[in-house]
Amino acid sequence: MPVPRGLLASLAACSLTISALADTTAAAESARLPAVATPAQAETGAELYAGKCTGCHNADPGAGGQGPPLKGELFWTTWGGQSARKLYGMIISTMPANNPGSLSQADTLALVAFIMRSNGYPPGSNALTEPADLQGIVINRVTQ
């Protein structure tokens, strides 16, 4: 259900960072970011996220919940400057919280693809096939 624009406008001045605003900025920045994974791989990641992650991280990956936000300001605060391979490592080593060790390499790569896409990294034409594919990708903060 959409929020009426009038109400949204009045709340935007006195509320949380609006994710839609962040998304717009992210879209403008994404042209300068390296492509990560493919659209299909990111979509697979989105489906996995919906099935395995939302209970703690919320349906919106930027919202956070029992788990931290995986998109936006708090994500960059945590992960900015670190390698995407480390993000892969964190996920496959500790997630999901109620069954660590259950994610396959392929599933974890798809989740990384989804998270990177959520943070403004455009999908490209090369699928991630192994963790080493993420080695040189540094998670950079999208300028706001």
């Binding site: 259900m1 959409p2 929020v3 009426p4 109400l7 949204l8 009045s10 709340l11 935007a12 001045a13 006195c14 509320s15 949380l16 609006i18 994710s19 839609a20 099935g51 395995k52 992650c53 939302t54 209970g55 703690c56 991280h57 919320n58 349906a59 919106d60 930027g62 919202a63 956070g64 919940g65 029992q66 788990g67 931290p68 936000p69 708090l74 605060t77 945590t78 992960w79 400057g81 670190q82 391979r85 480390k86 892969y88 490592g89 964190m90 496959i92 080593s93 500790t94 999901p96 919280a97 109620n98 069954n99 660590p100 060790g101 963790p131």
Partner: protein
């Protein structure tokens, strides 16, 4: 150490070991339970580190969250920075659940590794995991065991070698996941408790909405995480206590519409405590599905959000006290029950002190469950949500002021400047506010109402971190935080099995529609909290005298202090923070560290975390020291070869998480 060994020899090993896990606060400067002792007092009589000497306290060693033996084997192994584990310390050797949930043993004086529990098989898949807040120690003669939980298993490990104990379950481990066709795994964030040779475990519970947590979601169907007792020698299941009473059991009648058959997500994820002399274990229980809407479960819903006392040997319910009726706020009993022998009006009382997320402090006779101080059932506001079945009253422990702000009024809103106050008023005008137990409300966009802004919020005033008791003074130290959340409900669609679900206010504000989520905080445009400081407190209560002695901020929050919107504004010396720092009390001092934002929920300190020592009679800060990251678990203290140490678990992304040990500078 020599004294300890002589003592052990004189008393006999068995008697000594019984003493280790019994009530005496940290006997001989040890720390045999992650709560300090079985009573979970987080107290030590050690006082080498005191107000006069603390000036020379320094970091003497650190160790990483996972030993290199494991990390070096698997290049993609990245442990969580939520380093929960508080070490136990027995005869100078520390035992702790590392950030992967594997038990590590280390030398207390140097921090050097003795052994590491190896994942079996030794593979990346089996190395993956998460830590717990603590492990348990048990011994009979030369048979010394560390009992730990990891994933779906309960482990018995040889305390001397780190090898599995043969004869305990299947080659040293017991599978504890419920037999079920659904995909819900067993999960705990705390650890096992041992009393009377019985291992007692709680657990998080879970729902089909995933994550091992059913707080969010659109489904009422879930698993209750019943409490279980296992033989510490064999690993055999001895008993199961059904936290949702079966037919014929007391409390069964409090689940209307046959909801007892399907509701779950209840459990005890906070630490348990035990009195081996009385043969009782004290279990703090949580809210049922859905934590914010209960139209499908009319009634009080016992034993949700309750404290129950069980016979350690049989699991029989000895007594129970429900602290929130028909919970609609996720006001779990989430703090460890703290046992204390006190004197009330000249009479000795065996008490249990229990704080809940709502911020109330209850004291019961731990033998009978009778309230030590009066509890009044007072009217609570009715819900406006269709189908909801609000309890007309809630229990108020009237003797003690709550440990934290309850409810929200205009006077509570941020008022650093007139402009900030005006902004806070405008923001809050879109939410229902009121006293404690103001029910969640349905979002009505047309009327500009976006739910109920509730204090305490979903993470509660008192959480797992809460509470320490000084048996010498009879003072209980509560640690709380003031973090309100928005409880905004929406009518679900056909994909749901529950009529109303809670959604994240961020989604509402962004206009991205209603999706099931968790209640979450709102902030001003500058990022400032919507309420006035302090954002967290320490409160000292004389439990026997029935009065609060003092309150003080629980630390500071650099994120608020350095906010550009506050430039030129004179601020208090300490603002408090919304982290979940855990206290440690010694004969001389009260210690509390700023808690990290690496913990679940993310509230806490990112930069500038400190460990502080407080005068425990006044709340004045007498010492502070920078930490490499905020605390992620509770601190502990012990003596080794005449030197007192304090260990703090810390963690934050981007810095090396681990354990930091302090001691006085050597002369």
């Amino acid at each position: 150490m020599k004294t300890l060994l002589a003592c052990a020899a004189a008393l006999g090993a068995l008697a000594w070991c019984a003493g280790l896990s019994a009530q005496t606060p940290s006997p001989g400067g040890q720390w045999p339970s992650y709560g300090g002792n079985a009573w979970f007092q987080r107290y030590s009589p050690s006082d080498q580190i005191n107000k006069a000497t603390i000036g020379t306290l320094e970091v003497v060693w650190t160790r990483p969250t996972v030993d290199r033996l494991i990390i070096d084997k698997f290049p993609d192994l990245v442990p969580s920075n939520y380093n929960k584990g508080t070490p136990i310390m027995v005869d100078g050797v520390g035992y702790v659940s590392d950030a992967l949930g594997l038990v590590e043993a280390f030398d207390g004086k140097s921090g050097q590794t003795r052994w590491v529990q190896k994942p079996l098989p030794f593979s990346m898949k089996d190395a993956a995991g998460q830590g717990t807040r603590g492990v348990a120690y048990w011994a009979a003669g030369a048979d010394r065991r560390i009992i730990a939980q990891r994933g779906n298993f309960l482990y018995a490990i040889n305390a001397d070698t780190g090898e599995p104990v043969p004869g305990f379950g299947d080659a040293g481990k017991v599978f504890v996941r419920w037999p079920s066709s659904d995909p819900i795994n067993y999960r705990t964030s705390s650890g096992p408790t041992i009393a009377n040779d019985v291992i007692i475990i709680g657990g998080v519970g879970g729902s089909i909405d995933g994550g091992g947590t059913g707080d969010a979601g659109m489904h009422k169907e879930a698993v209750p995480e019943n409490i279980r007792g296992y033989d510490v020698r064999t690993g055999h299941l001895l008993w199961t206590f059904h936290i949702i009473p079966d037919e014929g059991q007391p409390g069964h009648e409090t689940w209307g519409k046959d909801s007892w058959r399907i509701v779950g997500d209840m459990g005890a994820w906070a630490p348990l405590s035990a009195d081996p002399e009385l043969g009782l274990v004290y279990v703090p229980l949580t809210a049922p599905t859905l934590s914010y809407y209960g139209g499908h479960r009319p009634g009080d819903n016992k034993w949700s959000s309750s404290l129950v006392a069980l016979d350690t040997r049989t699991g029989r319910l000895v007594w129970g006290q429900q602290l929130v009726h028909h919970d609609m706020w996720d006001y779990d009993v989430a703090s460890p029950p703290v046992l204390a022998d006190i004197t009330v009006k000249g009479k000795p009382v065996k008490a249990v002190i229990q704080v809940n997320k709502a911020g109330n402090l209850f004291v019961f006779d731990r033998t009978t469950g009778a309230p030590v101080w009066p509890i009044e059932e007072r009217p609570a506001p009715p819900s406006t949500v269709p189908g909801e079945a609000t309890s007309p009253t809630q229990p108020f422990p009237v003797q003690f002021p709550p440990i934290e702000q309850q409810g929200i009024t205009d006077a509570d809103l941020a008022d650093f400047t007139p402009a900030i106050k005006a902004e806070a008023r405008e923001l809050v005008s879109h939410y229902v506010i009121g006293p404690i137990y103001t029910p969640p409300s349905v979002i009505d966009i047309g009327k500009g109402k976006l739910g109920t802004l509730e204090a305490p919020g979903v993470w509660g005033a008192g959480n797992w971190n809460n509470g320490a008791f000084d048996p010498e003074t009879g003072i209980y130290y509560a640690v709380s935080r003031n973090l309100p959340d928005v409880f905004g409900l929406y009518k679900t669609g056909p994909e749901a099995t529950i009529d109303y679900a809670v959604t994240n206010p961020r989604d509402v504000l962004a206009g991205t529609g209603f999706k099931p989520g968790l209640p979450s905080p709102i902030t001003l445009a500058s990022g400032l909290p919507v309420l006035r400081p302090p954002y967290g407190r320490i409160s000292a209560y004389d439990i026997g005298a029935g009065k609060r002695l003092w309150t003080a901020p629980n630390g500071d929050d650099p994120k608020v202090r350095d906010n550009p919107a506050l430039k030129g504004v004179k601020l208090p010396a300490l603002l408090g923070n919304t982290g979940r720092g855990a206290p440690l009390v010694t004969r001389s001092l009260l210690f509390l560290a700023d808690a990290s934002d690496a913990v679940s929920g993310g509230a806490g300190i990112h930069d500038g975390a400190r460990l502080r020592a407080y005068d425990k009679m006044t709340g004045q800060v007498v010492w502070q020291h920078d930490l490499p990251a905020g605390a992620t678990g509770a601190p502990m203290t012990f003596m080794a070869e005449g030197r007192q140490y304090i260990i703090v678990p810390v963690g934050r992304a981007g810095v090396s998480a681990g354990w930091v040990a302090f001691a006085l500078k050597s002369p």
